[in-house]
Each structure stands twice: as C-alpha cells, then as structure tokens.
C-alpha cells in the first residue's frame, strides 16, 4: 500500500495538521518530503502529524519527520505526533526522532499542547 498525505487547513493556533496514511519507507518518504516542503515554506508554526492510518515506517520515514522537525526548530516551531499505531510508535521510541513529550495519543491532546506552546510564545513576544 502506498503513502497518502492529507494536509488540513491551517489551524487558528498556527499549527498544520497532516494526516499520513499507508507506508512511509525508503520509496515513499520522498513524497512526504515534497508535500512537507510546501507546507513548511509557509509561515506555519508547527506540524501536527496524525499517524492514525500509518501502518509502516522505516528509518527513511523517520528521517522525513526528523527533517521537518529540524526545519521548524530553526524558527522555534514544533513537530508533534498523534495517534501512532504501536509498531510505528515503537520505531519512534527507538530512534527518539521526536521527544516523548511531543508524542500524543489523540489529536485533541496534541492540539492542547500546541495551544499552550503558542500562548507561551505570544506571551514571550510581548515581554
């Protein structure tokens, strides 16, 4: 099964929700990179990767996520993960591409986290 990427409209809290489904491996990671490059070119603050339908991930896929994370980190943004299936979750746990604190069981929890982060940033800007 191939990769499918669905990009949601920009959330008011500045985060972009991206649903990734299917297999993310050495053959498909390029598709994700292309799609994410477009998203990251905008002023998006953070990425929320919804992995509910992602069945498979290898280190190539992890690298895509890691790359996005590095890019966003340069401008103070975050990549958070939600809904990962156990086998996918295990891969993330092993390579630590995303801190445990930024992996969530549900989209709602991830949204709440991003909202808090954004508030903190806004408060920081006002200082």
């Amino acid at each position: 099964m191939a990769l499918s990427v669905r990009i949601h409209p920009l959330h008011p809290n500045g985060s972009q929700r991206v649903e990734i489904a299917g297999r993310l491996d050495t053959h498909t990671y390029g598709d994700l990179d292309d799609r994410l490059t477009l998203v990251l070119a905008s002023k998006v603050q953070s990425l929320l990767l919804d992995l509910a339908a992602l069945d498979y991930i290898s280190s190539a896929g992890v690298r895509s996520v890691f790359r996005a994370r590095k890019l966003l980190a340069e401008r103070g943004g975050k990549v958070v993960i939600a809904n990962a299936q156990p086998q996918v979750q295990k891969v993330f746990d092993i390579v630590k591409a995303v801190p445990l604190s930024e992996i969530f069981r549900t989209v709602e929890e991830a949204d709440a986290y991003l909202y808090r982060i954004q508030k903190k940033i806004v408060a920081g800007d006002e200082d």
Binding site: H27, S58, S59, V62, R63, V95
Partner: protein
C-alpha cells in the same frame, strides 16, 4: 472572657456558634424572668389596688357622712339661733306688757343681735296692744340693706295672706320656702314664722324673722372646696335652695328636678327627704352614669335638709395616680430585673458560645485549640473539663486509627508486592514448536484475594519436552500463596530431575518434599503433565485434581480417564496413575481449578462442568478458550463475590504451515526498486506462518534498513549481489541477509547520539540503530565468502 478574641478570629465554626437572638438562652431567660416578674407585680398591684380602693372609698364615704352631719349641725345652730331670737321676743311680749314702740325696739335689738337675720315682721291682732290698735310693722336692719316698713300704713292685706293665717293657727314655728324679696335688697330669703299667743293660748298675732338664703348657704362654702364634693340644700317643701348646677336653685323643687332632669337616681332621696329622715346611698347620675355617694341629712327640726355628695372619681383620683406611679415603678423594676438576668445569663451563655466554638475547632481537627473556662468551679467549668476529656479521648482514638490505617496500608502495600511477586512467578504464555507442530500454552489466573493458592507453570526440559502443572492449594490468601510458591518450586525441581515422561514420579517426588515440614497441614491438588513436542505425546497424572478435558479437532470433547492419586502435602509415598495420549493438530487440552466449576451465581448455583464444556465447544484456540471461559464464569456469577481463586490452562496444537521460507536474490545496486517485492514476500511468508502483524512490521523494517544499507553503501565494498532469506524456526523469525562484498559488520557502527540537541543531530544513521533495537538476536559472520547477518525475532511480541 479573655478567650473571646481568639474565638472571634477562628474560621468556620463561628457560623455554627451564632444562635439567632430570639433562640438564645439569654433572651429567653430575660423574657421569662421579666414576664414572670411583671405578672407577679401586676397581681400584687391588683390586690393592693382593690384593697386600697375599698379602704379609700370607705374612708371617703365616712368623711362625707361626717361632714354632712357637721354641716347640718352648723346650719341647725344658725336656724335655732334665729328661732331663739323669735321665741325670746314672744316670751318678752308675754311676760311684759310692752308698748308698740318698745316691742319694735325689742325686735330691732333681737335682729341686730343675730347676724343671720336681716329683718322681721311683728303683727298683732287688734286689742292686743294697749291702744287696741292692730300692728303690722316690718323692722329692717338698715345696716344690712333692709328698710323698715309699716304694712298697715301701706294698706297691706295681711289677713289675706296664707302664711299669716297658717302662722296664726300654728302651734309652733315654721320655715317658709325661699322666695325672692325685692324690698330686702333683691335677695332670696327664707322666713321663720312664729305664732304669738297669750298664756291662755289665744291667738295674738305673729312674729317672723327673715334670713337670706345666702346666710345659710355661706356656711356650706368650705364643703365645696373639696374636689368632686357637691352640696345641695332643700327647703321644707322641697324647694331647692342651693344646687351645684346653674339655674336649678329656687326654680325647682327636688321632686320637680327629679322629674324634669331625669334624675331617677335621686328618687329615694326625695322620699327620705319627705319623711324627714337621713339617707346615705350610692347612685349613678341617670344622665351620664357618673357614680356618686350622697348623704341626705335633715337639719334639726327645721324641715330643711342638706345633701352632700362626692363623686367616685374624685374619691379615687389620688389612688389612681398613686397606682400609676406604682405601676411605672413596678415596670421599671421588672425591666431592671430582666436586664440583670440578661447580664447574669451572659455569664453562662458567653462561655457556652466559646466552648461551642472550641468544639467546632475540634470538629475541624484543630485539637490544639484551647478550651476556655476549664478552671471555673461552676457547671460551665465542669462542661469545659468534660469537653477537654472528650477532646483528649478523640485525639487518642484518632491517633490509634491513624496507626491502624498506616499499618493496614503497609500491610496492603506488602500484599501488593506479594501479589506482583506471585504473578511474576507464573510463566507467560508460550508458543512452542516441535518440527512442523506448534503448541500454544495459555493460562489465566484470578486470585480471589490479593494473593492466592492457585498456580500453573510449565518448564522446558531439554529440546523436546515441556512439563506443565496446574494446581490448587487448600485455603486462600497469604498462607496458600506461601505454600503455592513452595509447591511450584518443588514441582519444577522434580520435573527437571525426571528422567522420562513420568509425571507420576514427579508427583511422588514433589509430594515427598512438600510433606516434609508441613506443620500447617496444607495440601495442594496438582495436575502434572508432560508433552513431547515432536510427537504430541501426552502423559498426565493427577494428585487430587480434576482430570482435564481434551477437545479433538472434530469438536468431540473427551474426558481423560484418569484415576487421581492423593493430593500433595499428605502422606508421601502415594501412587499415581498415568494417562497417556497424543495431542494432534487441532486438539485442545483444557485444565482448570475448582474456582471455575464451583463459581456460584446469586442463586447459589455452581458453574459446573457442563457449562465449561459448552464454552470449550466453541473456542477457537487456547487463548480463546481461556478468555472465553473467564468471561462465561464472570457473566454467570454476575457480580456475586468471587469465592475462590480461578485458574484455567489450555494447550492447543496446530500444524505449522509449509516451512515458510522467503528467499530472494537482488543485484546491487541496480535492483533497489525491487525492495517492495521483498517486503511483500516477507509479509506473505510470515503471515502464513501465523506471525502477528506487529512482528511482521518489525521484520520488514529490519530487512528494509539492511537492504538499503547494502544498496547505498555496498558498492564501495565491492558488493554486487545480496540475498534475503526469511523463515520461522522454533517459534522464532529468522532473517538471513547476505552480500558478497568485503568483510564488513554493519553492527559495528557506533550508535547515534540520540540525546544530543536536535540541531546537532544528523538526520541519517538511524537505520542500523533501529535494526539493533528491534532484533532480539543479531549476529554477523562470514559464510563462504559472503557477509551473513542473521537476525532473530521472537514469534510473539513481548508485552509493551
């Protein structure tokens, strides 16, 4: 009182202490005492008032009677003096033969001597005087405003007057009714008429003396000064000469007044007056109801009478004001007493309030809050000390409870630890392979308490044999758990020492050990079996345990005919039968403890073996049988408390699919694009072998990482071919990746620094790390000019 500020500073309890003023003991005491006092005072006053009133009325009436008599006596004296003057003249004329002028001079002297008289008439029949001429001469006292008058000379018809004829015929003096006299100065007069007779009682004429009514009434003046006292004077025929009401005097007789003014209350007085007798009576003015006390007193023999009356209001006026003053004082006394009670009550209620506040703090757990007033000697002090004792007692008991609680908590946490230890003693579910056969061993244990006496275990012996035991220690809880731990150990040791497939020997051996030193006389029923993996041969022996059931591939359920031996822990040296059979693919062996068959529902019905068979009939495998049975038991018991530990144990046998081997050769680096094909073949092969999806995912990731690694970097090391072989062996997934390059061990890669800052971490270098982490075994070796990397994974995922 020193405690008051502390109490006021206190939190919450204040709200409880505040009693609304109307419910306060203080207010009630004050009101009741005030009310009682006021009632007592009122009763006293009422009694005193009525006694005093009787007395005052009696006194006033006596005084009125006395004054009436006095006034009557005074008037009588005046009238008598007038009569004496007249009688003196008559006496004189009888004794001495007087000339006309002498007689008149004597008359004038008499009149002047009596201050009451203002004039007098001397009338003589013809022939009485020496000159035999008649005489009718009025002697007036000029100084008193009355002139002399010669009636004969004026031609006055004396003989035609009624009063003259009456006097001539009278035998004694009589008083006329008052009349208006113009000649005597326009005054009302009354006249005393005296008949003049000689010694032979022949009528000679008359003498009369005029007295102004004013002269009589003036002696009544002092009586009128008494407030509410009234006087009236009645002439002999009833004419009213003095009356307190304007326009009554001289205009009416008493009987006429009684009739015209509607004074029926005075009728008895008129009757008494007509009879000339005295009368004292109470009466009420018929017109306005004003009560009065009147005394009618005849004035001597004159025919006049005097009325003295006193209004009852006037009698009581003084009493009323005195009583008002007294009531005012009484009210003040009651009020002061009530206030005094209020102050006194504060001495009780304020400490009570403070004690209540302290009690409120105790209720909040602030046991160090001081108890005020505990040094007092009165009931408040007693109460305060009782409160202190109660507080101390509660504190002691709370400490005790706290100690018990912490001990219980400690015990509970120890039990929790024990529970974990016991659970960890039980083996995990296993999948065992014997040649093409695969066996799944599944067990579930639910203790009735934190720890229990049920147990199950299985031990591999060598390569081809697995021992399993299911047991139930008598009793439950900690003692059973301790015995269970020993039983499991002893059984494992016995099984390890067993030479062949002789479960009876294992039971005998274990029984001997458990018997030794079993002071508590605990025992365990044990089902012990051994399975030859290659053939599926089973040997089972029972030490007092229910024989297991065998469900065949075609669905038949066989009861294993097994004669049970003695339970372990009793006498050693028992004998055990051994049942021998074979587990074929599709078969399922099922054992349980009596917690299953003796689970009771609310109606005390046991679950029983029939229901167990029904569940077993429809089970798909070992795991399904165990889980399904537990669900069925719980549904059956439907909330009734679990009475015993529940253990189920199942082994199923399945024929492994064709030895799953995926073997693919790839050219490096040209055939990089065939990787999905390799991964699909891997998934198909492992799936057929019954490997679960999570494991297949891990295997795919490993293969992808290693293949990509060789594809991307192998050419440098002279690689132009690689092969991937995957198969399942002895329950493990084995992946062999070979390449024909120079010797190179990718596992020798230094692991990436995963804890470094994100900005410093390279994006790559994760693949080999993933392989190392996902694999359970990974080894590298050279194999005939090839680099061989062998990766092994357990067929079953470790619990996450």
């Amino acid at each position: 009182m020193d405690a008051t500020p502390q109490v006021a500073a206190g939190p919450g309890p204040q709200a409880d202490v505040g009693v609304p003023w109307h419910a306060s003991l203080r207010t009630r005491l004050m009101l009741w005492v005030g009310l009682l006092l006021a009632l007592l005072l009122l009763a006293g006053f009422a009694t005193a008032f009525y006694a005093a009133r009787e007395r005052v009325v009696a006194d006033a009436e006596a005084r009125t009677r006395y004054e009436a008599r006095q006034a009557a006596d005074r008037l009588d004296a005046t009238m008598r003096s007038v009569q004496v003057s007249g009688e003196a003249l008559i006496e004189l004329s009888q004794r001495v033969t007087l000339s006309r002028s002498d007689l008149l001079a004597a008359m004038e002297a008499m009149l002047e001597a009596n201050p009451s008289t203002v004039g007098g008439l001397v009338a003589l029949e013809p022939g009485v005087l020496a000159d035999r001429a008649p005489l009718a001469y009025y002697v007036g006292i000029g100084a008193r405003g009355v002139p002399d008058r010669d009636l004969l000379a004026d031609g006055y018809d004396l003989a035609g007057r009624d009063w003259y004829q009456r006097t001539l015929n009278a035998t004694s003096a009589w008083w006329s009714e008052p009349y208006f006299n113009e000649t005597a100065g326009g005054r009302y007069m009354t006249t005393l008429n005296l008949p003049l007779r000689d010694r032979d009682a022949r009528r000679m004429g008359m003498v009369s003396l005029d007295v102004p009514v004013q002269a009589l009434s003036s002696s009544l003046e002092p009586l009128r000064t008494v407030n509410g006292q009234r006087t009236a004077l009645f002439a002999p025929a009833g004419t009213i000469a003095v009356h307190p009401e304007r326009g009554i005097a001289f205009a009416h007789t008493l009987s006429g007044y009684v009739a015209s003014a509607g004074r029926s209350d005075l009728a008895p007085m008129e009757a008494a007056r007509g009879q000339g007798r005295a009368l004292q009576f109470n009466h009420a003015d018929a017109r306005n109801g004003v009560a009065r006390y009147s005394v009618l007193q005849p004035i001597g023999e004159s025919g006049w009478s005097l009325q003295l009356s006193l209004g009852r209001d006037a009698m009581l006026a003084g009493l009323d004001s005195a009583m008002r003053m007294l009531a005012l004082i009484g009210g003040l006394v009651a009020l002061l007493a009530a206030l005094a009670v209020l102050r006194l009550a504060r001495r009780i209620t304020v400490p009570l309030t403070e004690l209540t506040a302290s009690a409120g703090h105790f209720a909040n757990g602030e046991f160090d809050w001081p108890v005020p007033h505990d040094a007092r000697g009165d009931e408040v002090g007693v109460m305060a000390r009782a409160l202190e004792r109660a507080r101390d007692s509660i504190r002691l008991q709370l400490d005790e409870i706290g100690r018990y609680a912490s001990e219980k908590q400690k015990l509970q946490s120890e039990l929790d630890i024990a529970r974990n230890i016991q659970r960890s003693m039980l083996p995990r579910d296993s999948v065992l392979a014997g040649g093409p056969r695969r066996y799944r061993l599944q067990a579930r244990l639910e203790p009735a308490k934190a720890v229990g006496g049920d147990f199950h275990a299985h031990f591999r012996q060598g390569d081809g044999r697995v021992w399993f035991v299911v047991g139930d220690v008598s009793d439950k809880g900690v003692p059973a758990a301790l015995f269970m731990a020993r039983a499991v150990t002893v059984l494992e040791v016995a099984a390890a020492a067993a030479a062949g497939s002789r479960p009876d020997e294992v039971l005998v051996d274990a029984g001997r050990h458990l018997c030794a030193g079993n002071e508590a006389c605990m025992f365990a029923t044990v089902l012990c079996g051994v399975l030859e993996l290659a053939s599926g041969d089973l040997a089972i022996a029972s030490a007092g345990h229910d024989a297991p059931l065998l469900r065949r591939a075609d669905g038949r359920i066989e009861t294993i005919a097994l004669e049970s031996g003695p339970a372990l822990g009793f006498d050693s040296g028992g004998h055990y039968d051994v049942w021998r059979g074979r587990l074929q693919p599709g078969d399922l062996l099922f054992a349980w403890t009596d917690g299953v068959t003796e689970a009771f529902d609310a109606g005390e019905d046991a679950f029983g073996e029939d229901r167990l068979r029904e569940v077993l009939q429809v089970s798909k495998g070992a795991a399904d049988a165990c889980d399904g049975l537990l669900v069925a038991v719980h549904r059956f018991a439907s909330g009734a408390a679990q009475s015993d530990d529940i253990t189920v144990f199942a082994i199923d046998c399945s024929q492994q699919a064709e030895p799953g081997v995926a073997s693919i050769r790839l050219q490096v680096p040209g055939e990089r694009g065939r990787l999905p094909e390799v991964l699909d073949a891997l998934e198909a092969t492992l799936g057929r072998a019954g490997i679960e999806a999570g494991r297949i995912h891990d295997a795919q990731v490993i293969v992808e990482e290693l293949v990509c690694n060789v594809m991307d970097h192998g050419a440098v090391h002279g690689v132009d071919a690689l092969s991937v072989d995957a198969f399942v062996e002895r329950g493990r997934v084995v992946l062999d990746i070979r390449d024909n390059g120079a010797a190179y061990d990718p596992l020798g890669h230094a692991p990436p620094d995963l804890d470094a800052d994100i900005a410093d971490r390279p994006i790559g270098g994760l693949g080999i790390h993933l392989v190392r982490e996902l694999a359970q075994d990974a080894c590298y070796r050279r194999d005939g000019g090839w680099n061989l990397l062998r990766i092994e994974l357990g067929a079953i995922l470790p619990p996450s």
